[in-house]
């Protein structure tokens, strides 16, 4: 014991100096225990009093100080083996990730296609068509109506708060105390009363309308600024950030980089918190619009459903107000004139001056080109759907709006101004006859723009429709905005359309250099893509992706992160993961869990495409042997599903076994087992269509459900199917639809509850025996 106590500090320091030499030689990973053992040279038997187990093992260390050659060789072998094992795990993790991303992005693409299809219907259907009236209301443009009238519509004052309400009561003007009270209330899972919701949102809307398109922020006074990425309705993550980093204030400014809503369950609460703090600290909270701050996207990804579920009486009004507020959200934030923060990214044409000048609120949905570029050259024509605005007429009695000539004459105007040749006219007539058979996104855009280019180039004698997408100033602006909200970075140089998402671009490192250089910027911070560690650099660390929704795909799938940045503009990262359980999962367990979830999602896709898959397999098996090669199996899978996944790598996890490299596809398809829906359906193809287009169906339902009652009449249901089949180019016969409708009218009251319908036909995968 005394021996130990007699070591001086100088001895310890000397040993540490030696260690630092080791480190310089590259032995960076030295174990401190080894250090101690070397430093103290303590023989094992001297260990006693009070130093316990640690000391005992230090003693053992000393024996192995000089590791024998066999042991070194054994260690090398284990290292090699383990690295191989870890690589296989990484491969699995990556595959799982790809599955989730592909399905997510394919969904986004679907949504855009659907929306464009509706837009196309709007442009080309005859006015009398009932389908058109069903969906016209999502395209209503309200800019002509003055905001004061809208304010009256959104007024909260008439809404009473009953004594039974136990949620928070807000007083205005908003203060820090009120805002923190709100956070506390949401922590305790309370719901804010619709009166306060409308009041809070109304105040925030006023503020948003005076904010510029680009927030300019500075980190003077040694302030650090905190930047958060996508939150997607995951309140736990926002609360975790506040817990770790503090609530927003003038001294603790925040930038929130879009995608606050959709997918998670608490989108509304997140919005309310962000807007509350915005009201208290207009210079301390900066919001950027994301691609999900868009009422069209919300129809599909859950925000609309969340609001209507939480606010049955006033949900519709709240949604309408939010629709406008989203269009008024700023598009970007610039920190110290050097760091650009934007939700999606940039393109080779990005020009912040153009963005600063535009009227951003014109783009209620970023997916739709501005109305003015489609208007005909003459007169004050309004949007084609203004006449169907029943809801508006009820609430806005004033004749302040200029009433447009009826849609019939608009078509006539179209025809008159189409002097680019009869070819286009003929095509249009065919389209009308075929009742809007869908085409590719490109073709749709071309068709829409070709009619508009004819409109605008009235004076142009040789307008020959040569340019498929005429570059009007409005279209340029619109493209700038879509690029900001939807683009993704890529590794190679250049700039190309983002086919995967269906909107925005892929941009390369050369574009980053050029755009940043042109604007004298040094860093681009964006979000939009989920990253396993919550953040990721690319393009020589000039682009930073930041994602703040942890466990986005599944518990344990990824961490979230936020960034703190001081006047030196060096980003400091803080990572977190919100669920309790996942912290204790080993890497292997968490990969396994996410993987099972991804495979489940993938199997749903397979099941939904069963007949197409069978057809594709049979194509490769002309002699009907029942087996095909793996190569053909992979081609068939990709041909039908178009998810861009490495099928051969996934093969074993999808339960495929091969003999001599050949796969029994009939058996394999049979093994995709799922629970039967609660209702027997005679028509199997309708069932499959339903599974496959689950999200599309739900989107269409919600669009058609104009009064947001949550239920559809039989006729509306029938119209839905007709719309869907037009979009998908399939035939669905009326009898089958009628049968279906009857069979799912659970209450037998002549109407179909949307939620119940979606629930009944949600696929529930049975565990696949491994």
């Amino acid at each position: 014991m005394h021996k130990i106590l007699s070591f001086t500090v100088r001895d310890i320091v000397t040993q540490y100096m030696n260690i630092s030499i080791y480190m310089k030689m590259g032995y960076m990973n030295i174990n401190l225990n080894v250090v101690f053992a070397l430093a103290f040279k303590i023989p094992p038997h001297v260990m006693g009093c009070g130093m316990g187990k640690a000391a005992a093992s230090l003693g053992k260390k000393r024996e192995r100080e000089h590791i024998s050659v066999p042991a070194m060789r054994a260690a090398l072998l284990i290292q090699r083996w383990y690295r191989q094992y870890a690589a296989r795990l990484e491969m699995r993790r990556r595959c799982t990730w790809n599955i989730f991303q592909s399905i997510e992005y394919a969904g986004e693409q679907d949504q855009i296609k659907l929306y464009n299809f509706f837009g196309y219907l709007m442009e080309h259907f005859t006015p009398a068509s009932s389908e058109r009236s069903l969906i016209s209301h999502i395209f209503r443009e309200n800019d002509v109506v003055h905001d004061t009238e809208w304010e009256r519509y959104f007024c909260y004052k008439s809404i009473e708060v009953s004594h039974g309400y136990h949620g928070p009561h807000l007083t205005f003007p908003m203060t820090f105390c009120e805002a923190s009270k709100l956070v506390e209330a949401f922590k305790h899972k309370q719901l804010l009363h619709s009166r306060y919701v409308l009041q809070l949102l109304g105040e925030a809307w006023k503020l948003l309308r005076i904010l510029p398109n680009i927030n300019h922020v500075s980190t003077c006074h040694s302030k650090e600024i905190t930047i958060c990425g996508d939150l997607h309705g995951q309140l736990e993550d926002l609360l975790l950030v506040f817990y770790k980093n503090g609530l927003p204030s003038s001294e603790k400014p925040y930038v929130f980089n879009g995608d606050f809503v959709d997918r998670g369950k608490s989108s509304m609460e997140i919005l309310l918190i962000l807007f509350a703090f915005l009201l208290v600290y207009p210079n301390g909270v900066h919001l950027n619009r994301g691609n999900h701050e868009d009422h069209i996207v919300n129809l599909r990804y859950g925000f609309t459903k969340e609001v209507l579920g939480k606010y049955r009486v006033h949900g519709k009004k709240i949604l309408k107000l939010l629709q406008k507020m989203f269009s008024w959200l700023p598009l970007a934030t610039v920190i110290d004139g050097k760091v650009l923060v934007v939700h999606g990214g940039i393109s080779d044409t990005t020009d912040l001056n153009v963005i600063a000048r535009m009227e951003r609120h014109k783009y209620v949905s970023a997916l739709r080109p501005p109305k003015s570029s489609r208007r005909s050259a003459g007169g004050n024509r309004r949007a084609p759907c203004c006449t169907e605005g029943g809801e508006e007429r009820n609430h806005h009695g004033t004749g302040a709006r200029a009433r447009a000539p009826g849609p019939g004459s608009r078509h006539a105007a179209h025809r008159r101004s189409l002097h680019s040749g009869s070819a286009v006219e003929e095509e249009l007539r065919q389209r009308r006859q075929q009742a809007g058979l869908s085409q590719s996104l490109q073709e749709l855009r071309r068709l829409v723009s070709s009619s508009s280019s004819s409109d605008e180039d009235d004076d142009d004698a040789d307008d020959g429709n040569s340019d498929p997408q005429p570059r009007t100033p409005e279209r340029d602006e619109w493209k700038q905005m879509v690029d900001l909200l939807w683009s993704d970075p890529m590794a190679q140089d250049g700039c190309q359309p983002n086919q995967v998402r269906g909107g925005g671009c892929y941009w390369g490192p050369d574009v980053t250099e050029e755009v940043l250089g042109r604007h004298h910027l040094q860093l681009l911070i964006r979000s939009h893509e989920c990253k396993q560690d919550g953040y990721e650099f690319c393009h020589n660390r000039r682009v930073l992706t930041l994602f703040s929704a942890s466990n986005y795909y599944e518990v344990g799938s990824n961490r979230g992160a936020y960034v703190r940045m001081g006047p030196d503009l060096v980003p400091h990262f803080i990572q977190y993961q919100s669920s309790q359980t996942c912290r204790t999962l080993t890497l292997r367990q968490s990969i396994g869990r996410t993987e099972r979830s991804a495979l489940g999602a993938l199997r749903e896709q397979l099941f939904a495409h069963k007949s197409d898959l069978l057809g594709a397999f049979q194509h490769y098996d002309p002699d009907n042997t029942g087996v095909i090669s793996l190569k053909h199996w992979a081609s068939a899978m990709e041909g039908v599903l178009k998810l861009g996944l490495p099928w051969r790598v996934l093969r074993s996890q999808l339960g495929t076994s091969t003999q001599d490299g050949m796969l029994d596809y009939r058996e394999w398809i049979q093994d995709l087992v799922f629970s039967e829906p609660k209702h027997e359906l005679s028509n199997a193809s309708i069932l499959e269509t339903m599974y496959r287009n689950h999200s599309n169906l739900e989107t269409i339902f919600r669009i058609i459900d104009t009064d947001h009652s949550g239920s559809l009449s039989f006729e509306e249901f029938r119209q839905t199917w007709k719309l869907l089949s037009a979009h998908l180019k399939t035939e669905v016969d009326d009898d089958a639809i009628a049968d279906l409708a009857l069979s799912i009218d659970f209450n037998k009251d002549g109407s179909i509850d949307i939620n119940e319908f979606m629930e009944a036909f949600r696929l529930v995968a049975l565990a696949v025996p491994s």
Binding site: Y27, N29, I30, N31, N33, V34, S57, K60, K61, R64, I67, P70, A71, M72, R73, A74, A75, L76, L77, I78, Q79, R80, W81, Y82, R83, Q84, Y85, A86, A87, R88, L89, E90, M91, R92, R94, C95, N98, M490, A491, Q492, Y506, T586, L587, R588, K631, G644, P646, W647, R648, V649, S652, Q653, G661
Partner: protein, 161 residues
């Protein structure tokens, strides 16, 4: 002769396909390039057991100046490796024996800091992160010991998937 040639062709195509599939998983932008840091995962997931130094040799051969690896150059190199069965897999019992060598006192288990000491030394020591990950799968939580026989079984089983 023709049969042999055909069989050889099929074999080669099979190998190419496997390499392509593994490559594709890490090819984010679907442009036939991967980041050089992913090469280890790709090569190993194809069943090879190279050392870090051997990996660096492969990288030297195929890396582009911009820090990426493109498929055209990777394919021939990797095909050769697979066909020649270089970096052969380590048999399971050899792995078990290796652990037994480290377990000098024949206890049937190792303590976390014992294993750490071995893994963090040598020419290609584990990084902090690798060590943490290994320990998280290897250590039995209740006893805080590494029952290496079970660990080896687990690593091998996972490999069969």
């Amino acid at each position: 002769m023709a049969d042999d040639r055909e069989r050889a062709e099929i074999l080669v195509t099979g190998v190419h396909k496997r390499i392509n599939d593994a490559f594709q998983v890490f090819d984010h932008d679907l442009n036939k390039t991967v980041d050089v840091r992913e090469i280890g995962a790709i090569v190993r997931s194809l069943g090879c057991f190279p050392t870090e130094a051997e990996l660096l040799d492969i990288i030297d051969e195929v890396e582009e100046p911009n820090g990426f690896i493109c498929f055209e150059r990777f394919l021939p190199t990797m095909s050769k490796i697979l066909m020649e069965n270089k970096f052969r897999p380590i048999p399971e019992d050899t792995l078990l024996t290796a652990f037994e060598v480290l377990d000098q006192q024949k206890k049937g288990h190792l303590e976390p800091n014992e294993l750490t000491e071995y893994m963090r030394q040598g020419d290609e020591p584990f990084t902090q992160l690798e060590m943490e990950e290994m320990l998280s799968s290897a250590v039995e939580p209740d006893s805080n010991l590494i029952y290496y026989k079970d660990f080896v079984n687990m690593m091998v089983l996972d490999g069969e998937r």
